[in-house]
């Protein structure tokens, strides 16, 4: 059986690279500003003995790409045919980011939504009901604070379950 591919996509500065670092136990540069990642990084991860290839992509705002690095991210989706697409969003700016989720779902890509930076969202008084969101979008939704490893276990479980369905 071939190794399953997971692509991490999302708006700039939502923590894609942090998630990548945690999942693959590698280090790619992480900063607090949009556009730190301009190239694609790849790493390996295994969940209960199943191997996955994880691909970290530069940030994209929309499916319709404007800048060079958005094109890089989209090409990954088109050409690499990932088995799972993890869309990472900044939970406190959900409204601005869901549009890309809708586009990914519309493209019939195997999307999972990660509501990242939940701690800052809660601090800002943003309360998200992940189950309602899941029902509305009909894709798995996981809450996380990836910088401290919160939600990673659940994410891995969901990846495994999602992967088995394919």
């Amino acid at each position: 059986m071939s190794v399953k591919k997971i692509a991490i996509v999302g708006n700039p500065n939502v923590g894609k690279s942090v998630l990548f670092n945690i999942l693959t136990k590698q280090y790619v540069n992480v900063s607090n500003y949009p556009g730190t990642t301009v190239e694609v990084s790849r790493g390996k991860m295994s969940i209960n003995g199943i191997e996955y290839e994880v691909i970290d992509t530069p940030g994209m705002y929309s499916f319709l790409s404007i800048t060079e690095e958005e094109k890089v991210a989209r090409r990954i989706l088109f050409n690499e045919k990932p088995d799972i697409v993890i869309h990472v969003v900044d939970a406190k700016n959900l409204e601005r980011m869901l549009s890309l989720t809708l586009q990914l779902i519309e493209a019939e890509l195997p999307v999972m939504l990660v509501l990242n930076i939940m701690d800052e969202a809660q601090k800002n008084g943003v309360i998200i009901d992940a189950r309602i969101l899941e029902k509305e979008l009909k894709v798995p939704v996981v809450e996380a604070v990836s910088i401290i490893g919160k939600g990673i276990k659940e994410l891995k479980d969901r990846i495994e379950a999602y992967g088995n369905r394919l």
Binding site: E69, L98, E108, E120, V126
Partner: protein
């Protein structure tokens, strides 16, 4: 799920999608609906993909796109975005509750950094304490003096020199290791005792600034100035990253939306943005002479604006528009700062150490074959023309390959009292503007193509020399004593 796109009934986007989908025969990894939507929005790459896969149907598809567009006053992208946003809103309304809160301290601080009245003093504060005091005086001064002056010159070098002289019988070969330009006494010393501590201190400050989220705020602050020189505030990030490493920053110019901006940014990065190693040594060189430092900063700043302005006038293309997300101000995580600094220092050190050692070998070979004297002799005239002592030729020769090596050479000259204030300023200006290191030269070519990459380099070679000449002329003419 799919959003139901509306619009005028007969010519609705939905109908256009249906018609295009019916014309698409090949199989795509993404849904046909998505392909249709992207084509309706004139997406180049998707169009190429469809042209490659569909054959005759392409013309019919183009017809549908044209017809659909003619029924909308606004761009299709805009119409789609509106409807999508409405859909998002209805989902968010169901799943998200927001408790309104008053503006916190963070938000207040964030606004202060972006307001010119308070933002510029904050910027100066960061530059003064972060760069000048911490990197320049403490890192490049106190720490380097200890490692270079005490550890290396007093203990390590004499020890190694004695050792080599004992075990290596030939004087010529001794020179290779411990001579004036020896692998150990010069190459290793430059790399380990000078550049390494300076760069480490710089990267620490840099990582902290990065992780607080200050950079995008800086971008907002200087957006207006940048617009004048044909760049959007977005370009501030690659520019500021250029102070870390211009080569990496050139790669980050990919985040700029227009080709025009990317070229201007590459140009400025190569010319007027000193990288961390240069910056550190320049801070160390001019640290004891605030007047000279101000003149240097003023000249480089002016050149930055002037060349940017000129380039933007010469280059045709759309004016930049600016939008950028401003991430929250955050307390940097100590572990990320350490990991990041370490990763950068390691990457940097691994890159320069062999080069610095190799330089010693080349100089040694060159001296043996008398080529070295010949080349240095050739450079003597231009170097003297900009008012520098002939000894500076070596620094410039190697500054050609690595600006940091050249800068370290100047540091040595200055330590031996061979440069006066004016000469210091002139040589720092020349080295700042000078041709990028080989790595950046290659990156320019990789990112911008042969013609532009080479053109930029040739321009810089002449420009830096001319600028140094003029600076020297003016400073000497007016008898400025620094």
């Amino acid at each position: 799920m799919a959003i139901d796109y509306k619009g005028p009934v007969e010519y609705s986007i939905e109908i256009a999608i249906e018609r295009i989908c019916a014309l698409l025969n090949a199989s795509y990894f993404i849904s046909k609906r998505s392909v249709a939507l992207l084509i309706l929005q004139d997406d180049k790459e998707t169009e190429e993909m469809v042209v490659a896969n569909e054959g005759e149907a392409v013309d019919k598809i183009r017809e549908v796109v044209k017809e659909t567009k003619s029924h909308f006053a606004n761009a299709i992208t805009y119409e789609l975005a509106l409807e999508r946003q409405a859909e998002v809103k209805s989902i968010v309304d169901k799943a998200v509750k927001i408790k309104k809160e008053s503006i916190g301290t963070r938000e207040r601080l964030s606004r202060l950094t972006m307001n010119p009245l308070t933002g510029i003093p904050i910027l100066l504060f960061v530059l003064y304490w972060g760069l000048y005091k911490f990197v320049g005086q403490f890192g490049a001064g106190t720490v380097v003096n200890f490692i270079e002056g005490t550890l290396f010159e007093k203990y390590f070098n004499p020890f190694i020199a004695n050792l080599i002289i004992k075990i290596v019988p030939w004087e010529v070969l001794q020179g290779l290791f411990v001579g004036e330009y020896g692998i150990i006494t010069l190459g290793l010393r430059y790399a380990v005792a000078l550049i390494l501590p300076i760069v480490t201190f710089f990267f620490i400050v840099f990582s902290v600034i990065e992780d607080t989220g200050y950079l995008p705020r800086l971008a907002m602050l200087i957006d207006r100035t940048f617009k004048k020189i044909g760049l959007s505030g977005r370009a501030v990030i690659p520019m500021v990253l250029g102070f870390g490493c211009a080569t990496m920053a050139t790669m980050v110019t990919r985040t700029l939306p227009t080709k025009r901006e990317r070229i201007i940014a590459t140009m400025l990065l190569s010319l007027a943005v000193p990288c961390s190693a240069q910056m550190g040594v320049i801070l160390a060189l001019l640290g004891g002479n605030p007047k000279a430092m101000l003149i240097w900063a003023g000249i480089v700043g002016l050149i930055f604006l002037f060349v940017g302005y000129l380039t933007s006038k010469i280059l045709p293309g759309e004016r930049p528009s600016f939008y950028m997300e401003v991430p929250p101000l955050r307390m940097p995580s100590v572990s990320n700062v350490i990991t990041k600094t370490f990763a950068r220092v390691k990457w940097y050190f691994i890159e320069i150490l062999p080069l610095f050692l190799l330089a010693s070998i080349f100089i040694w070979l060159g001296m043996l074959l008398h080529i070295f004297d010949f080349i240095v002799g050739l450079l003597k005239t231009p170097v003297e023309l900009i008012g520098l002592p002939p000894e500076a030729s070596t620094a410039f020769l190697f500054g050609f390959f690595r600006r940091d090596y050249g800068a370290a050479g100047l540091y040595d000259l200055n330590k031996h009292g061979l440069l006066n204030g004016t000469q210091l300023v002139v040589s720092c200006v020349a080295l700042t503007l000078f041709l990028p290191c080989i790595a950046q030269f290659l990156m320019n070519i990789k990112e911008r193509g042969w013609k532009t990459g080479l053109g930029i380099s040739v321009f810089i070679l002449f420009f830096s020399f001319t600028a140094a000449y003029i600076v020297n002329f003016i400073l000497t003419k007016f008898g400025v004593i620094l």
